[in-house]
Subunit: 263 residues, 2 copies
């Protein structure tokens, strides 16, 4: 396994402005934690952003599960992102042909490209999806994460599929900032170090839920798994004190990163 | 190639209420046409529904590209569906873990399960996505289409991936009503005839767009391709007279189906 490179250095190697900003932010804030704010109301998401804000590098949203949305709410989230120094990742999992994702990313009620720093996409439709999203997000300085692997049981993003995703990322580094993945140590070691790896399915104890989710620990994911960022949803948002839980996951994620750097 | 079975008979074989209704509707209305209402305003989608309504079996929406949405608009669309006898398919392409799609399908601003007859999903996350969507759509009598193949250039849904999708559909026929696919003749002949095949990437002349879309003709798709339903977007919605274009595609689709039955 090649030696791990610190985030500060990888910021210099990122070919995408958004990826560069995220590496810099993580190094500055000493946090490689993303929180998945999977709550049903705008009030709750603002509360999570406020409580977890000081500890996170990224706030991950599913805007389409909130009870309301408008540009004022987007502005409130952006303000919290400035105040607490985090970035916003809309986890849209775009998965359509290029022509369709152009409208879905830039238009509609959500206007995702207007307020999110980054979003993600499945490569199932082929590389036209990257071309389409790039026409919208490129000029705005946004970044794209490709789903190379998934956390859930029986996921089909494996083997040759994952290899194709890696290839597409390498070929589109002006817009693709990295991956959503599980075990990049297995397939990403030849990828340029400017690409970032973010991993969901993380809790302090391994396990799963009733609908196929599978959990690994921060140590496992960042250590032997070779990832850079942990994405934590229910481990934080269902905790009695989400702010304290975020602080705990931040420490665990950062300790795992420090250890990986040394080994 | 096994002999094609008429829609009337397949309605009896469908194990999902929504699939059964669609087969019956197509036989009754003599239409195997779905229109993709990919427009940016609610006004335009209502106009398309009104003009194409008499000719279509299915109105396919991307609700997240419309400029506004509320339950009143949903009610207007449902009223047009009753009047003109068509079903509504929200082309959401769900692609997340089971726990997340539960909220995305049932909740948020769109409440997709409340007004759509059917929706679709990618199997990338594994079968937990079917379990999750079923908890919401099952009790409402909705149906799910799985994306087995895609129309776009370089799509990764091929070979072993497509086989896995077919297996998952067969194992979940209480909720999965069929497939979004390209060439079911290649892989679906062993699937139960109660499952339906719907194919996008259709125009009267073959070709493509600048972002990877690829077009085949109705004859090709329904004939040698072995599909049941043609999905047509720009071929209809960009026509000077979308109503007349829908009538034309309806004739072409139905003629191809009649020919397939005879051969
Ligand atoms: O493979 C994936 C990819 C993603 C993100 O792109 N996710 C998302 O992470 C979060 C995990 O939440 P949890 O920690 O509560 O399981 C959810 O928002 C889920 O949609 C996963 O859970 N698995
Ligand atoms: O593989 C697919 C799957 C789908 C539907 O699930 N689609 C959709 O069909 C429509 C094709 O439109 P067009 O006829 O204008 O190309 C678009 O809404 C697109 O998102 C495709 O174009 N290709």
């Amino acid at each position: 396994r090649p030696k791990r490179i610190p985030f500060e250095e990888r910021a210099q190697l990122a070919q995408n402005a958004c990826g560069k900003r995220l590496f810099e932010l993580m190094a500055r804030k000493r946090s490689n934690l993303a929180v998945a704010a999977d709550v049903g109301t705008v009030q709750e998401v603002l509360r999570i952003a406020e409580a977890a804000g000081p500890h996170i590098a990224v706030l991950k949203t599913h805007v389409d599960i909130f009870d309301e949305w408008n540009s004022g709410i987007a502005a409130q989230l952006r303000k919290l992102a400035e105040e607490h120094d985090f970035m916003i990742f809309e986890d849209r999992k775009f998965a359509d042909i290029g022509n369709t994702v152009v409208s879905q990313y830039g238009g509609g009620i959500y206007r995702i490209a207007d307020w999110s720093d980054m979003t993600n996409a499945h490569l199932v439709p082929g590389t036209g999806i990257i071309d389409g999203l790039k026409t919208v997000g490129g000029p705005k300085g946004c970044g794209l994460l490709l789903l190379a692997e998934m956390s859930s049981k029986g996921a089909l993003a494996t083997g040759a599929y994952t290899e194709k995703v890696a290839e597409a990322a390498v070929a589109n580094q002006d817009f693709v900032m990295g991956f959503i993945c599980q075990t990049p140590a297995k397939w990403s070691t030849q990828c340029p170090p400017g690409l970032i790896h973010m991993t969901p399915g993380v809790q302090l104890a391994s396990g799963g839920d009733a609908l196929g989710q599978q959990y690994n620990t921060p140590e496992h994911v960042i250590g032997s798994g070779g990832s850079d960022v942990i994405i934590v949803g229910r481990g934080i948002i269902k905790a009695q004190d989400p702010g304290a839980a975020a602080a705990e996951y931040k420490e665990a994620g950062w300790a795992a990163y420090q250890l990986a750097l040394q080994s």
